[in-house]
Symmetry: C2
Subunit: 238 residues, 2 copies
């Protein structure tokens, strides 16, 4: 997997390519080459966490049992912590978080609606799959941020508590409801397209048309491989 840079034409401001000093491993996807603008990066990542929180809060409110409610409330707390920690990074950069997040709200709201599913199980899988892919994607993209900021952002996004709860809830639901696995496998596959669009919008900044070519394909390939592992862990065919 290589970022092919030879065909690049003029690029928009976000993300920029860092000068390649000594590329040592062309066989890996090197997120360091993608240099996101910190402010919109943090704004989009923070708003996405707020959406995950809202989805998880809905899952808490509609949970069929008290133990599920309890576990999911902890997961909602994790998403909320990520959101507030990213907001705190924006404040540290002396910008008003609401102003920075606002441009990402419409598309992210639509994304959440599209991935909310038809019932509680689909809601859970929707959050598990999309948060799994996007947390991992934004965390890797953070490698291109200034070093200290990038390390803090990765630490924020890599907190895994929510996915552990969701995987456990989904696994026991699938075991307890014959036929659910087939429906969820289908649902899980249908989530990938919307999620990749959100990821692509983070890569391409304002001008989404520029970076849809071959150079970002390996990033998406990796995201999809992550997705397949996540579905496998639930016994679902990706």
């Amino acid at each position: 997997m290589v970022f092919r840079t030879n065909r690049r034409g003029p690029r928009p401001e976000t993300p920029r390519q860092r000068p390649r000093v000594a590329p040592t491993d062309l066989a890996r996807v090197d997120f360091h080459e993608l240099v996101p603008e910190p402010v919109p990066f943090l704004g989009q990542a923070a708003y996405i966490q707020l959406e995950f929180f809202e989805g998880l809060a809905k899952a808490v409110a509609t949970a069929p049992t008290l133990p599920s409610k309890e576990g999911l409330s902890a997961a909602a707390g994790v998403a909320l912590r990520k959101h507030h920690a990213l907001i705190a990074e924006l404040r540290r950069l002396d910008v008003e978080p609401d102003d920075v997040m606002a441009p990402f709200a419409p598309a992210t709201d639509r994304f959440r609606q599209a991935t909310a599913g038809a019932d509680w199980y689909e809601l859970l899988l929707g959050i598990h799959i999309t948060a799994g892919m996007l947390d991992s994607f934004f965390s890797r993209l953070a490698e291109g941020l200034p070093v200290e900021l990038g390390a803090r952002v990765r630490a924020i996004l890599d907190e895994e508590g929510a996915s552990v709860v969701l995987e456990s809830e989904l696994r026991s639901a699938i075991q307890g409801h014959p036929g659910l696995a087939d429906r969820l496998a289908l649902w899980g596959r249908s989530l990938v397209g919307d999620t990749l669009l959100v990821a692509r919008s983070a890569l391409s900044g304002a001008d989404a048309s520029v970076r849809t070519g071959e150079q970002v394909e390996p990033v998406f390939t990796e995201l999809i491989a992550d997705h397949t592992r996540r579905m496998d862990a639930l016994g679902l065919t990706a």
Copy 2:
């Protein structure tokens, strides 16, 4: 305001009356006289915070602006922290929180539905009024718990972040919407009865019929005075 103890007949196990060694100030409501059983006390208080969290999460999801969403998400985080901190106290007592909370779920769920209101503004006032009264009530009731536990519980419940956000949101909503004040004043008054019933259920434990007499009336009088102050702060007639 005095706890009148002279007419007390046999009392149920929760709350018990502590032996009165040296009553020094009969003119105050002395919550020390009420000795709640720690486990059901914590279970009910924890479940109530979960309900506040769910209400606040709904307020986040339906907030009309991003700044409101942002502020309310912090308030939801406060309720969730209180919930998880109370859960942690139950675990410390070697009981399973879900088992302890379960008996309080039906009545508390009904309470939340009854106080959720018809729109976003009523939802906010519903949480502000009921959480304000019940946090204060449970915090004062915690004076009767074993000293160290009681101090920790009071520190948990006394965190004020959520009420500051709610008061600020409500105040600007009232300023911006002529006519809203009248409707909210009416709504605020209608919340008191349901909230006092929840408070009474905490006082009386399993046998609600016993402690509805004069001895607890001053407690309720104080709760209502709190309520009036809270309404006044919003410019609403209580």
